[in-house]
C-alpha cells in the first residue's frame, strides 16, 4: 500500500506565489509598504525575522485572512490562491470537542465532501505522523507535541499545493521540534511552502530560500540559498557559519528598533 502521504500534493505541479505592493499600517504606524515576495513553486521559502516585524501579517495576506492590508498575492498559473492554501498556526487549533481523527477530517466536514477515501487517508496520515494509536483521543488528553503533530497531519489532509505555516513548531521542546521539522520536510516535499519563523536554525534546516525581514517599516533582504536540499541536519558544519551570520543580522536589527 502506497503511503497516502506520497500523494499529498495535488496532481498538477504546485504553483509559485507572487506578492506585490504589500502594505500594512496599524493606526499611524506603518509596518511595511511596497513589499514584494516570491515563493518559488514546489520549494520551501522561510521568512525569518524578529517578533512584531509583520511576517505573520504577510503570511495572512497570502492566505486571504488579512482584511487590513493591501497587496496582491497571485499564483504563477494565473488561478486564484483561495481554495488552494493550507494553513498551520502556532497554536494547534484543534477543536476540543472532536477526536484527533475527526479533527483531521475537519476540512471535509466543513465542505461536506467526506468519503471513505477521506477516512482512509486520515488513518494513514495518523500512522505516518506517529499517532496511529491515538486517533480516538481528545486533544485534552494529548501532549503539546502530539497535538501539533495532529495539526500538521490536518494541514496535509486536503492536499493543497500551497502550504502556509506560521511558527508552527516554536511552542515545542527542542527535540520534538527537530523531529517534526524532519517529518514536515518529508511530507510537504512537493508543495509550495511558506514557513514563517524567528529561529534562524529552523530556517536554515528547512528553507530552499531564506528571506530575512527586518526594520520598521520592514524590508525584505535578498533570498539566501544554502547548499544541499532540506531538511539539512542540524550538525551540518556549512550551516554554522551561516547561522552565526544570520543571528548577527537579526541582533543588529533588534538593536536598531530598540533605539527607535
Amino acid at each position: 500500500m502506497t503511503s497516502p502521504a506520497a500523494s499529498v500534493a495535488s496532481p498538477s505541479p504546485p504553483p509559485g506565489v507572487s506578492v506585490r505592493d504589500a502594505r500594512l499600517s496599524y493606526g499611524d504606524t506603518l509596518l511595511f509598504d511596497g513589499l514584494a515576495l516570491d515563493l518559488a513553486p514546489g520549494r520551501w521559502t522561510c521568512l525569518l525575522g524578529p517578533s512584531g516585524v509583520g511576517k505573520t501579517t504577510l503570511l495572512r495576506l497570502i492566505a486571504g485572512l488579512e482584511q487590513g492590508a493591501d497587496g496582491q498575492a497571485t499564483c504563477g498559473d494565473g488561478l486564484p490562491a483561495h481554495g488552494r492554501v493550507a494553513y498551520m498556526a502556532q497554536q494547534d487549533l484543534l477543536l476540543p470537542w472532536l477526536t484527533l481523527r475527526e479533527n483531521l477530517v475537519l476540512g471535509s466536514r466543513l465542505r461536506g465532501d467526506r468519503t471513505r477515501e477521506t477516512e482512509a487517508r486520515a488513518d494513514g496520515l495518523l500512522q505516518e505522523i506517529g499517532l496511529g494509536d491515538s486517533g480516538s483521543l481528545f486533544p485534552r488528553a494529548c501532549s503539546g507535541g502530539m497535538r501539533q503533530r495532529a495539526a500538521l497531519a490536518r494541514t496535509l489532509m486536503d492536499r493543497r499545493p500551497i502550504v502556509l505555516m506560521d511558527e508552527p513548531f516554536s511552542a515545542l521542546d527542542a527535540i520534538t521540534r527537530l523531529q517534526l521539522q524532519d517529518v514536515a520536510a518529508r511530507l510537504l516535499a512537493d508543495c509550495t511552502v511558506l514557513l514563517v519563523t524567528h529561529d534562524p536554525l529552523e530556517a536554515l534546516r528547512l528553507g530552499h530560500d531564506i528571506v530575512v525581514m527586518t526594520g520598521r517599516p520592514a524590508t525584505l533582504g535578498a533570498p539566501i540559498r544554502p547548499p544541499a536540499s532540506p531538511p539539512r541536519p542540524a550538525d551540518d558544519p556549512t550551516l554554522i557559519g551561516e547561522h552565526a551570520r544570520l543571528l548577527g543580522e537579526l541582533a543588529r536589527a533588534g538593536e536598531e528598533s530598540a533605539r527607535r
Binding site: 495572512r60 492566505a63 486571504g64 485572512l65 483561495h82 481554495g83 492554501v85 493550507a86 494553513y87 498556526a89 497554536q91 487549533l93 477543536l95 476540543p96 470537542w97 475537519l106 476540512g107 466536514r109 466543513l110 465542505r111 461536506g112 481528545f138 485534552r140 486536503d158
Partner: protein, 260 residues
Amino acid sequence: MNGYLGSRALVRPIIVFAGLLAGWQAIVWASGVPPYILPGPAAVVAAFRKGADLIAQNAGTTIVEIVAGFAIGAAVGAVSALAMSYLRPARRWLLPVLVVSQAVPVFALAPVLTLWLGYGLESKIAMAVLIIYFPVTAAFYDGLRRTEPGWMDLAHVMNASRWAELRHIRLPAALPALGSGLRVAAAVAPIGAVVGEWVGSSAGLGYLMLHANARVQTDLMFAALFVLAIIGCVFYFTVDSAVRRLVPWQAESHPEEEFR
C-alpha cells in the same frame, strides 16, 4: 466520583442538611418564637404528613410551570442569540428588548401578563420565560461572538460556507457559554413560576403558600416552601448534569474537588 449517587458524595450534604435542621430547632426553642411566625422542623414535618396530598398535587402544577417555562425560555433565548449574531436588524431590535426584560422587575409585569394570558399555566410559564430570557440569550450570544479567531481562520482557508462554519465550529464552541446561561436559568425559573402564582392562580405551591399564610397555617406554608426549595435544587442539579454531558470538553480548574 461516579455521578451524583456515589455514596461519598451524598454524605456531606446530608450532614449539612441535618445540621441545618438541628440549628433551626435550636433557634426555635431558644428564642421562644411563636409557631405562627416560625414553626420548628417537627411542626413542619407534621404539617407535611397531614397535607401530603395537597402539597403533592400543587407541587405537580408548579413543576410543570418550571419545566415548560425553562424549555420554552431556553429555546427562545437560543434562537434569539443566533438571530442576533447573524442578522444586524435582529441585533438592533432584540438588544433593547433583552435589556428591558432584565431591567424591569417581574413583579411589575406579572399582573399584566396574568390579565392577558389568564390565570392558568400560560401566565406562569410566560413569567418563567421572561425571567430566564436574558441570562440564556446574553450568555449564548456572548459565546457565539467570541469564537476563537484561529478556528475561524482555519474555516476560511478550508473554504467553509457560513452555514458550515456555524454548524461545525461556532455552535459547538458556544455551547459552554450556553451551558452557563442554562445553569443560571435553572436557578431562577422557579422564581418566575411562583411569582406568577402569587399574582393569580388556582393551583401551585405559591398559591398554596398564600392560602396557608392567610389561614395562619404557618407550618403548612413552611412545608410547601420546603418542597419548593427541594424542587428548585433538584431541577438545578438536573440541568447542571445535563449541561456537563453536553459540554464534556470544558476544562475544570479543580476537577478533583468539584462536587459531583
